[in-house]
Symmetry: C2
Subunit: 79 residues, 2 copies
């Protein structure tokens, strides 16, 4: 069974670079990689915050949040 890896972003340049370089680098044979654009899928913000995501881009691997560089705080994505 593959490990879950959810990459959260908001379309910012920092996010796109991290998606192309880090999320794409994960081993798809071992990880089920899902990409979530929080600017477009605002209902996913709650799940991201519950996993400990404070800013984007971030990747939650097997439930653990890893913030990659800094694009935007979660607060900027709400409302």
């Amino acid at each position: 069974m593959k490990t879950s890896a959810i990459f959260y972003h908001a379309g910012c340049p920092v996010c796109i670079e991290a998606e192309q370089q880090v999320a794409e680098a994960l081993d798809s044979a071992r990880y089920d990689v899902k990409i979530v654009h929080l600017g477009e899928q605002k209902k996913e913000i709650e799940a991201a915050e519950a996993a400990g995501v404070k800013s984007v881009p971030a990747i939650v691997i097997d439930g653990a949040p890893f913030h990659i560089n800094f694009g935007a705080p979660m607060s900027a994505l709400k409302g």
Copy 2:
């Protein structure tokens, strides 16, 4: 030819989690993953800084630095 991915850390708990979850998740068929402990290999600090690494843990993929969460600033590893 594989893409270079250098994971820089300093043995801190944040670093170890990132190593086990992120560095280990990279596709070794496509990436040549190298792990560098800057606390033990101080002569590598210069190369890490030249690549843009400001804190550890960080991973430099194909020359681009990605800081993962925050363990320690580079300044704490010197001297």
